[in-house]
């Protein structure tokens, strides 16, 4: 019934099946929206946050989605600035994922603040010394960029494209996309970084504070780098999931291998920097403030060295190595493992840089503060995921997201073409 909207020559499931799928996920969205309404109506007392946990689950989710959404700007950077042309076959999808991540991030921020109706003060009364101000500005600007990058793809919809103006608009936007991509990269560098800065500048919090370059603590650069490194992992992961669900091959292996390879080297370089940073912090910064790092990983019911090991070794070094070595990289299973570990790793890093900071006592007579999110927090955190699934489903169904789809699925659908 909606065949008129489906890209020419593309095979899609029947509309009823599609509708049912959307309905199921839609229910989750409604749950999240209900929780969101509660929070806006009754206030943040609906959460389990408290004066020790001013930053909690949401801020973690926020940082996490932005980190994994980093695939968009990095892929864009490679495609449009460094002219890595193969990536044109995945850039659309990268942009869509980025769009989902960043729109979610903005939504979460709108829920998280105590006075949503005053949220715009962050722009209007901006304090340029605050990392959060930098985040807000760059985040929203970059979201605009993503929207701009997304528009041409939308206009390529079979019906929309019939409108000459839209057709030309899409065409022209492709033409100058490099300019947008460059701006996007610039903005991303700063907001990814300043998100890291948010933690790094908290010199009242020995676990978070880092020395740095000029006004930027090392976490600034580590966050940008990690987003660029693990973002593509997420893009590849979501592509893999989409391929599995649709039972179609959507992106050629050479593209996947290339992106994996780049991601791999980024991860390795990042994790080396991260290890150096950790060692310097643990042996110089923190002792100078009177702490042993053991203080941060003991005397509590949850946080132990395991989290440090998991983040850096298991979810950093290992995926990095897998992805830089041709043999392992081109083994689908190992690659998948690496990609998953990578995504987990970057999310874990953001968790540590938000929630563990809040948990650790700084005053010698204070105690660890652990917290469990309320269902409202969980629901509003699940919301973006559900919303993302729906948006991907819709865009995949109606837009020519994967340029190689037709070619790959023309002769013998859903088989590897080596």
């Amino acid at each position: 019934m909606d065949s008129a909207l489906i890209p020419e020559g593309a095979k899609r499931c029947s509309f009823p099946i599609f509708a049912v799928g959307i309905a199921i996920v839609g229910a989750v969205v409604l749950w999240g929206v209900y929780a969101m309404g509660l929070i806006w109506w009754k206030g943040l007392n609906q959460t389990n946050m408290n004066d020790y946990y001013g930053f909690a689950l949401w801020i973690w989710a926020d940082l996490a989605v932005i980190a994994v959404g980093g695939g968009a700007f990095f892929t864009g950077l490679l495609k449009y600035i460094f002219k890595v042309d193969e990536l044109k076959n995945i850039i659309n999808f990268a942009v869509i994922i980025g769009f989902i991540c960043y729109s979610s991030a903005l939504l979460i921020l709108a829920i998280d603040i105590g006075q949503p109706l005053r949220g715009w003060f962050i722009f209007w009364h901006a304090n340029v010394h605050s990392m959060l101000t930098e985040v807000a500005f760059c985040l929203s600007c970059y979201f605009a960029v993503l929207t701009i990058e997304f528009i041409p793809n939308i206009l390529e919809n079979r019906q929309a494209n019939k409108v000459p103006f839209f057709h030309h608009l899409a065409h022209n936007m492709h033409g100058v996309m490099a300019v947008f991509a460059a701006t996007g990269a610039f903005l991303s560098f700063f907001h990814q970084g300043s998100l890291g800065g948010v933690a790094g500048v908290m010199y009242g919090r020995p676990f978070a504070v880092r020395e740095g370059l000029l006004i930027w603590p090392w976490t600034f650069f580590l966050f940008t780098w990690s987003a660029a490194a693990f973002g593509p992992c997420f893009t590849l992961l979501v592509t893999k999931i989409t391929e599995t669900i649709t039972g179609k091959k959507l992106v050629k292996d050479n593209v996947v291998h290339l992106l994996s390879k780049i991601s791999g080297w980024m991860i390795i370089t990042y994790i080396i920097a991260k290890i150096i940073d950790t060692i310097y912090w643990a042996t110089v910064t923190v002792p100078g403030l009177g702490f042993n790092i053991s203080h941060f990983y003991s005397n509590n019911g949850f946080y132990g060295y395991w989290i440090l090991v998991t983040e850096i070794l298991i979810c950093g070094v290992i995926p990095g190595l897998i992805l830089i070595m041709k043999s392992t990289r081109e083994n689908p299973t190992l690659r998948l493992v690496a990609i998953v570990l990578g995504v987990v790793g970057v999310c874990l890093n953001r968790w540590v840089m938000v929630l563990q900071i809040m948990a650790i006592p700084v005053l010698s007579f204070d105690t660890w503060a652990l917290y469990v999110p309320s269902w409202q927090e969980v629901a509003t955190t699940v919301l973006p995921v559900a919303y993302g699934i729906i948006l991907i489903a819709v865009t995949y169904r109606y837009l020519p997201v994967f340029p190689q789809e037709k070619e790959l699925n023309y002769v013998q659908p859903a088989t590897e073409t080596k």
Binding site: D51, D112, F121, I122, A126, G204, P206
Partner: protein
């Protein structure tokens, strides 16, 4: 930003922890002075708004050698690294809703400007900042006792001790009215200071050698030899500041003759304390 203005005040306090009895007068005086709300259950101290909170410290020894001390904790009104006014909270507030008064050294909070991002709370190691998770509510009629000097806060914003800034304004206005160009020491005293039955709190201008707080603290105007971030360290061996090594440079000092209490003021590595306790307070290796 008249940082270098010599006439600038630097209000601060010193609290004698040997006199403090943990009676709670300062907490309540603060609450009623500043229209602090209360709710049905205040036993979860992690969401209980107490601008002035009295911590209970123990020396960790077992019966009968155990000891207790009480430590009142208002906002520390940090001067920030090098005492340049970039307090941990002020420097992070994205909307300029909290600001550093270079003429008073007081860290302000503008409730109508705050949009509740709570970054300042994360940045404050003293947990001196409190969020209004709920709408403030008073039993019927009780709102009649609210003071017009401090506006009640709406839900969704951060609040904290202001060193009773409205009392400073009142004193300053009076001085201006009387044609004096400055206020007297006793004209501006915080609600906790005046209430303390033990007289444990001394408040005044750390820049004014004639003020008692200055006499007791004897702040060192120069950066600490081993940590340029630390300014205003006390020259009194029994006086210390909380987490001084972080370089937050609080304007609230504490006084105690008990070594274990002074040690509890900061964090030390194995053996560090023994090396430095003799030449006083909390040295930093930063």
């Amino acid at each position: 930003m008249n940082k270098e203005n010599i006439k600038a005040h630097k209000f601060g306090m010193v609290i004698d922890l040997d006199k403090c009895t943990g009676c709670g007068s300062c907490m309540v005086s603060c609450m009623s002075e500043n229209n602090v709300p209360f709710k049905e259950d205040e036993s979860n101290k992690k969401d209980s708004i107490t601008w002035m909170r009295v911590y209970k410290l123990t020396n960790g020894k077992s019966f009968p050698d155990t000891e207790i001390a009480y430590l009142p904790r208002p906002c520390q009104h940090c001067g920030g690294k090098g005492d340049h006014g970039h307090s941990p909270c002020v420097s992070v507030c994205p909307a300029t809703a909290t600001d550093y008064g270079y003429d008073t050294g007081i860290v302000s909070q503008i409730y109508t400007r705050c949009f509740g991002c709570r970054y300042c709370m994360g940045a404050c190691p003293y947990h001196a900042r409190y969020f209004n998770w709920w709408d403030p509510e008073w039993p019927e009629g009780m709102e009649k006792y609210l003071s017009p000097n401090v506006s009640p806060r709406m839900r969704g914003v951060v609040e904290k001790c202001s060193f009773c800034y409205h009392r400073f304004q009142a004193a300053r206005d009076k001085a201006y009215y009387d044609g004096r160009d400055d206020i007297e020491e006793n004209e501006y005293q915080t609600a906790c200071t005046t209430a303390c039955p033990a007289g444990a709190i001394v408040f005044g201008d750390l820049n004014n050698p004639a003020h008692r707080v200055h006499e007791i603290v004897k702040p060192d105007p120069h950066p600490a030899s081993n940590n340029p971030n630390v300014v205003g360290k006390s020259r009194n061996p029994n006086v210390f500041r909380l987490l001084e090594r972080l370089g937050t440079n609080p304007k609230v000092y504490y006084l105690s003759e008990r070594e274990w209490v002074r040690k509890a003021g900061d964090n030390y590595l194995e053996g560090e304390w023994d090396n430095i306790k003799n030449h006083h307070g909390s040295e930093s290796h930063g």
